[in-house]
Symmetry: C2
DNA sequence: GTCTATAAAGCGATAGAC
DNA sequence: GTCTATCGCTTTATAGAC
């Protein structure tokens, strides 16, 4: 039920998906769908909460860690990739939210909190001296997690590359760059 | 007119924006809008073509260049950032297209052509020996341009950082990485 | 738990007056 | 070039039978 809805939300977009679309994909009528969920918006809220809970826990672990910020940043990059792979549908929808309803506005607020925590971590790592200081840390943070988040648009788990390999590739590219060492 | 529509498409999403929304933002009625445009879909098509034309020309320049692939890749990364900044609205909408209409399907086809050309360039640069060969070139290409594309979600041209600075930051991060040299 | 039927509102788009 | 009015359709959501 939720899985069918999420699949359509991703393929067509939340706004372009009607309850009737969801019903048809399950070979039932609209009324049958409304027996299980109270509204289309609530369906979205459940998925967004799944994504936000997972990302929160990844970020909280990094924030509360004791080691050097650069190591905690490396860990949260890897953890984020794992979360995006394990909860790809939910995170994909979260990243597409516009703020068109109370549910979406609340999700955006929680997301901004996460983004701010990640930016703080990058700033800390730069101040530590572990990361380059010649570039704006806030811009670096946005680019870094923009790269991480972009993988929801193309990664397919059934392929040849595992979540673990992907996390290593992302971390290697982000920290060491494209150029041959 | 087009500008008002695009602003709303970006703020609320194309599907969640009605012709009446556009009309109200211009303080006219729906009919006045339809006097200037033939359909909501045509409005979207014009914007997507703007973005695709610009990206095409950036990629074509890199593809037809004569220097080393790694230099042409550096150039196309910089040029891409400049295009995303100069045509941010159009590119933002392009990156959000789902394929819900003929217009959107056609745009996705053109976009895939561009992505393939960029992936070829990354492959070439790896074969040349200029870029690291320990990571999958196709994955590198996706992550690199995922990072580039992600800037449409946060960059604001009125701020303190110029398009040129941003292009330098993106290139520096992508090629040399986060770690202090 | 699923159905038919329907309400109430919004949608894209058009006709025709001014 | 903008308006009022309207068509035809789809939307979210509910009522009530089985």
């Amino acid at each position: 039920m939720l899985r069918a809805a999420v699949a359509l939300f991703i393929r067509k977009g939340y706004d372009a998906t009607s309850i009737d679309d969801i019903a048809k994909s399950l070979n039932v009528t609209k009324s049958a769908v409304y027996h299980h969920v109270s509204s289309k918006e609530q369906l979205l809220a459940e998925v967004l909460d799944e994504a936000l809970d997972e990302l929160d826990s990844a970020v909280d672990a990094a924030t509360r860690g004791t080691g050097p910020a650069s190591e905690r940043l490396r860990d949260v990059v890897r953890r984020s990739v794992e979360v995006l792979v394990a909860h790809q549908s939910a995170v994909t929808l979260l990243l597409r939210v516009h703020g068109n309803s109370d549910t979406e506005v609340a999700a955006l607020r929680r997301r901004r909190r996460i983004d701010r925590a990640l930016a703080s971590l990058v700033n800390e790592a730069v101040e530590e001296g572990a990361l380059r200081a010649d570039l704006d840390p806030d811009v670096l943070s946005r680019l870094l997690f923009g790269m991480v988040n972009s993988l929801v648009e193309w990664y397919r788990p059934n392929g040849e590359i595992s979540a673990d390999q992907l996390a290593s590739t992302v971390a290697a590219l982000a920290f060491d760059g494209l150029v041959r060492a």
